[in-house]
């Protein structure tokens, strides 16, 4: 897995890789020179000679090694960043190819963590892991070679000591890893506890369970503390043991050298002894780093696996069952936690939509008024519809997120130009699903969904906003200016189009009064919740689409705002085909064509 990833990387960035490798080799090589020169200097002194040139050489070699090391570090940073950029670009390119189901199954935060945290982990894998692993292995090999050159006895000694110490290193690190993962899961719980507390704050206060919550939190903190303490123990003990081992090797070397006399297997001159001491103490340094790097690589394995899985996700052709959607009454909006929110707004919506339809009725000219239909039945497509080619047409559509469990089968209906149709039914009956099919996010298992004169899935990206606008349950601002909220970054939206959309949505005045008008940054605009909603409406109609898809609107708005929204919906609906979602049943809806989904409870 690492090898292939590494190879792919080298192939992508041959120049950067070569430069980094060259610098690593030079840095390791030059780092050998200073102790050797120091040894010569001391030997010369012992022989009664004072060779300052060796001293100057020592400094020059040290400086050179420093420069190479500096270059090596800089190069490693650059290579890492290059790689992260490339990886994120590739992942972003994957996004449009993923089926909509992917985004239902995965929370946005989790996917964003892949892009951010996991790619960072891969960076650490390459820079701190593979590249440094290489650099440190090279350092050890270079030092061992230098030692072999001078003293074969010491080399043998190290060949015994190094593997033992390395095994010890790995043992400690495995323990640390276990403690760290215990700590991580404790920390995850500790972190999650705070939003949870806030979400349940009224309950906690109302039930008077503050002390219990504190005890719970305290227990989590204790778990984290204990795991951390274990990590700390290994962390603290390891390096002192390695340092002591280094001292022991030096001591043994000296004793053997003392016993060997001038010609023995372990013989050393004084200068060599000094140089060898420096080498021995230096050879253990990368050992510690080496172990850490192996660990980094292991830790990054999970991240690498996740990113690979993401890049290998099925692309648009197939749609798989979202895992949490086991409960047949499940919700479409996203994570299961969103479900209760939606039920909440569902009931809140009822009255509002009732009033909406009253308003819509008064706004419409009588020509578009359709005869009422039975609200409890799915209306069969009527023959000889008076209004020509439908804007939206479902022909015998069968669809389920799990193909074996269709939400509806052989379902047909149509919405004609300037016709307003309300979808009703309890949560899980498939209302939002219908909007999603219209928007081409999902493809039916059988039958056809036609929008305009095309199948929904065949509508080209650039045609979409000209064809239909979607106003969702809540307005979610994108980063950028107020203008960006409408253009979504596209340059073909003129100010005149924006002006008209804002006017229709009834928010033009509010935008004009902002300090920099349309160019005000969204977070600085300080728009109220209602105004944000209106901005969302304007976003839906900025390309003047023929079709308007309205998902249920918000709950918890004061009635003033509600009036504004309803008036805006009335203006927007004029002259457009509207397909909207409602949850309640109300007499006020009887005059609009209503489609009841999923039968009775």
């Amino acid at each position: 897995m690492y090898a292939s990833a590494l190879l792919a990387f080298v192939r992508h960035f041959p120049r950067e890789c070569f430069a980094a490798l060259a610098l690593i080799v030079f840095a390791a090589g030059t780092a050998l020179v200073p102790p050797m020169l120091l040894g010569r200097f001391i030997d010369a002194l012992g022989g009664g000679q004072f060779v300052m040139l060796l001293g100057i050489g020592y400094f020059a070699a040290s400086a050179l090694a420093g420069l190479f090391e500096s270059g090596q570090d800089a190069m490693i940073v650059a290579v890492g960043q290059r790689m992260m950029h490339a990886l994120r670009s590739r992942m972003a390119a994957k996004l449009p190819k993923l089926p909509a189901a992917y985004f239902d199954r995965h929370e946005a935060g989790g996917t964003a963590a892949l892009f951010l945290k996991d790619v960072d982990a891969i960076d650490v894998l390459f820079t701190d892991g593979i590249l440094s692993l290489f650099a440190n292995s090279l350092r050890i090999v270079a030092i061992l070679a230098a030692i072999l050159w001078t003293s074969r006895g010491l080399f043998v000694l190290l060949c015994v000591a190094l593997p033992v110490l390395f095994l010890f290193t790995r043992l400690v690190q495995r323990r640390v890893l276990a403690a760290q993962s215990a700590n991580r899961s404790a920390v995850a719980r500790i972190v999650a506890c705070i939003p949870e507390t806030l979400a349940s704050f009224r309950m906690i206060r109302g039930f008077g369970i503050e002390p219990w919550m504190e005890r719970r939190y305290g227990a989590m903190l204790d778990d984290g503390y204990r795991a951390m303490d274990r990590t700390n123990f290994y962390d603290s003990v390891y390096s002192p043991i390695i340092k002591s081992a280094g001292a022991a090797v030096v001591a043994v070397m000296m004793v053997l050298a003392a016993g060997a006399g001038p010609r023995g297997f372990f013989a050393l001159s004084v200068g060599d002894a000094v140089a060898m001491t420096a080498y021995v103490l230096a050879v253990f340094e990368p050992l510690e780093a080496l172990g850490m790097e192996i660990q980094t690589i292991q830790a990054a394995a999970a991240a690498l696996g996740r990113i690979r899985a993401f890049l290998e996700e099925d692309e648009l052709a197939t749609q798989c069952l979202p895992r949490w959607r086991k409960v047949p009454t499940g919700d479409f909006a996203g994570a299961p936690k969103g479900a209760d929110k939606q039920t909440l707004s569902a009931s809140a919506l009822s009255g509002r939509l009732c009033r909406l339809w009253q308003r819509v009725r008064t706004c419409r000219d009588s020509q578009t008024l359709l005869p009422s239909q039975s609200p409890l039945r799915v209306p069969a497509p009527q023959e000889g519809e008076p209004l020509g080619v439908p804007c939206i047409e479902f022909r015998n559509v069968t669809f389920g997120y799990a193909p074996e469990r269709p939400i509806f089968s052989n379902f047909s209906f149509s919405v004609h130009p300037r016709e307003h149709v309300v979808l009703r039914g309890r949560t899980g009956a498939g209302k939002t699903t219908i909007l999603r099919l219209v928007a081409g996010l999902y493809v039916p298992q059988s039958g056809e969904v036609l929008v305009g004169d095309k199948r929904a899935a065949d509508v080209l990206p650039q045609e979409r906003r000209h064809l239909y606008g979607i106003a969702g349950q809540a307005f979610s601002p994108i980063p950028g200016t107020v203008r960006d909220q409408l253009t979504l970054g596209e340059s073909d939206v003129t100010d005149a189009m924006i002006e008209r959309a804002l006017e229709t949505a009834g928010i033009a005045d509010a935008v004009r009064s902002l300090p920099q008008g349309l160019s005000t940054m969204m977070e600085a605009a300080g728009l109220s919740e209602g105004e944000c909603h209106l901005l969302g409406f304007a976003r839906a109609i900025v390309y003047d689409p023929r079709i308007l898809l309205l998902d249920e609107c918000t709950a918890h708005l004061d009635s003033g705002t509600e009036e504004l929204l309803l008036a805006a919906i009335g203006r927007m609906s004029e002259g457009r085909a509207v397909l909207s979602i409602a949850h309640c049943w109300s007499a006020a809806m009887a005059e609009t064509r209503t489609i009841m989904l999923g039968g009775e409870e």
Binding site: F59, D73, I76, T343, E601
Partner: protein
């Protein structure tokens, strides 16, 4: 150096950080001893390395024997072992010390959080604040840890090395160390640029995180709007600017360290020059030269770490200032005293407003022990607010009495023990099913789960009392969550129970059975049932219909007669449900 002064001052001035340190006196004492032993002992390494080299020279020169070497080598290993054990002790206790403080700070922060007044807590704002605060706690303890470590590792050891260098030769000590301030001066000049670059990189990181969240979080919007290509192009430019900023800051941060070392290493030249001539003159032996040399190298490395100390302290200081107000903001604790003594509730001319707009006014109703008051009305009529008024969460106008005592004059703890409210959101915890009902109390949860019609789910094994309810794989459905909240409410109920839309996500048959359980369980409690589902309203004692800011109160039949809107809704629903 002035940064250090600031750092120390900033941490000492507020009494509270000392309160966190005070409990750690024992640890700190141990830490000081091991820290001093280790750091002073550090000079033993260079000393013995010099002695070993000298001894070898003497042996080769024939003046000493192999036994001398064995003695020195043995001593060397023993001393190093002691020094390194102290080091291990120091490292461990510094970390434990920081770990302790971290735990206590987090606990204090949480304590302050759960004792906030609910009206001051807004989930999103407070959530972001708390997330930041936890990061700040980490940064503060990390700063304290680094400061303590560096105080010994850099401060003490530098003094020890310097003393040793001076002991060998003052002139050479000054001559070799003169380059260190130079390196420091250079580093300080570059520091501003490094800080600016790293601030830019951090900002760029934040922008990238926001851009990534936007790109993924708004995927449906961008896809249905057909602008994915444009958004990817924009994301690409953000990636490029992040890359540029990170490379710049990473290079400045990482690659500078070796360069500082080169400057400080200039000091080896005088050592070679003067030290070499000392040996030639016979004032120094090889041991002295080697010791001095190796001591200087270690000193140079240590001094390059000094900058880290100041950075850590500064960061910790900023973080501490941010969390201090949060720690102080906790309210006084109120203890909920559960009261089951039956009470009568009277409302006269009751009104409430939200956002400066009157929701309802002139409400009058009464509720006696053992009765159920059913409340309904169109959306946004204020029925949920009425529930909140009864639970003391929202201020009101007019008169609302409990056995003659005005609700607003009751103690918070008393009111919480009297009125138990089940809100819209289930507000469940990431705990087991049983814990979610018992909430740490000694309660037999099963009967309550049965009242909430969760009994068969448990018997069938679909739910387990001892499993985390949000565990991956089998999360609870919306209906199950609502029923669990219902069970929890009954398990902790006081004399007055406010149920806000408890049947919103259950089917009609379950609703019927839960209502029966509620009736059977009620006893002398007073229940306010707020609902948009009216099928059980005919079985309630009173009905309150809220519309257009006014309320109609009476028996179900009376309200049916008086209020056509109620009748329309009721008939429509019962016709539909049947």
């Amino acid at each position: 150096m002035e940064t250090e002064e600031q750092g120390m001052g900033g941490r000492k001035r507020p009494v509270r950080i000392l309160s966190f340190l005070r409990g750690e006196a024992g640890l700190l004492a141990f830490l000081t001893v091991t820290g001093l032993v280790y750091n002073v002992g550090m000079t033993a390494g260079p000393y013995f390395e010099g002695q070993l080299a000298q001894c070898l020279a003497d042996i080769l020169g024939g003046t000493r024997g192999a036994a001398d070497m064995a003695r020195i080598a043995g001593l060397y290993v023993a001393v190093i072992a002691v020094v390194q054990s102290s080091r291990a002790g120091k490292r461990f206790f510094v970390r434990r010390f920081a770990n302790h403080i971290n735990r206590r700070m987090r606990a204090a922060l949480y304590h302050a959080l759960v004792h906030q007044e609910p009206e001051r807590v807004r989930a999103e704002v407070t959530g972001a604040l708390m997330t930041k605060a936890v990061t700040d706690v980490d940064a503060t303890t990390e700063g304290i840890r680094k400061f303590t470590t560096e105080l010994f590792d850099t401060g003490v050891v530098m003094v020890a090395y310097l003393a040793m260098l001076a002991w060998y030769d003052v002139r050479l000590a000054v001559g070799s160390c003169v380059f260190l301030p130079l390196a420091y001066f250079w580093a300080a000049r570059l520091k501003k640029r490094v800080a600016r670059a790293s601030a830019a990189a951090r900002e760029s990181e934040g922008t990238l995180a926001a851009a990534t969240m936007d790109r993924i979080g708004h995927e449906a919007l961008y896809r249905t709007s057909g602008v994915e290509a444009g958004r990817n192009a924009l994301y690409e430019t953000q990636l490029a600017s992040y890359e540029a900023a990170s490379i710049r800051s990473g290079m400045l941060e990482n690659a500078m360290q070796p360069l500082y070392r080169i400057v400080s290493l200039l000091g080896v030249l005088p050592i070679f020059w003067l030290g070499g001539s000392y040996v030639m003159q016979g004032t120094w032996d090889i041991a002295a030269f080697t010791t001095f040399f190796s001591c200087f190298l270690k000193f140079a490395v240590k001094s390059s770490h000094a900058a880290k100390l100041f950075n850590a302290v500064q960061k910790a200081q900023v973080s501490w200032w941010r969390i201090r107000p949060l720690l102080e903001s906790g309210q006084e604790e109120t203890v909920r005293q559960v009261s089951l003594a039956p009470v009568t509730i009277e409302a006269r001319n009751l009104s409430a407003e939200r956002g400066g707009k009157t929701l309802f006014s002139g409400l009058s109703f009464s509720l006696r022990p053992g009765e159920i008051l059913a409340v309904t009305g169109p959306v946004a009529c204020g029925k949920s607010t009425l529930g909140e008024v009864l639970a003391g969460l929202v201020p009101y106008g007019g008169c609302l009495t409990v056995d003659g005592q005005e609700l607003s004059s009751m103690e918070a703890g008393e009111l919480r023990g009297l009125v138990t409210r089940m809100g819209h959101a289930p507000e469940l915890l990431h705990a087991t099913l049983a814990e979610n009902v018992a909430l740490g109390g000694n309660i037999d949860v099963l009967p309550f789960l049965q009242k909430a019609e969760l009994g068969q789910d448990i018997e069938s094994g679909a739910l387990s009392l001892e499993k985390e309810i949000f565990a991956v794989g089998r999360p609870l459905s919306g209906g199950q969550q609502a029923r669990l909240a219902f069970a929890r409410t009954l398990a902790h109920a006081g004399a007055v129970v406010v149920l806000d839309d408890p049947f919103a996500s259950v089917d009609a048959e379950t609703e019927r059975r839960m209502f029966e359980h509620l009736r059977a369980w009620q006893g002398r409690r007073s229940i306010v049932l707020i609902s948009s589902r009216l099928q059980k309203f005919s079985e309630c004692d009173h009905v309150l219909f809220l519309a257009d800011g006014k309320g109609t109160f009476g028996l179900h039949e009376e309200v049916l007669m008086q209020c056509s809107e109620y009748r329309t809704l009721y008939e429509a629903q019962t016709a539909h449900e049947l």
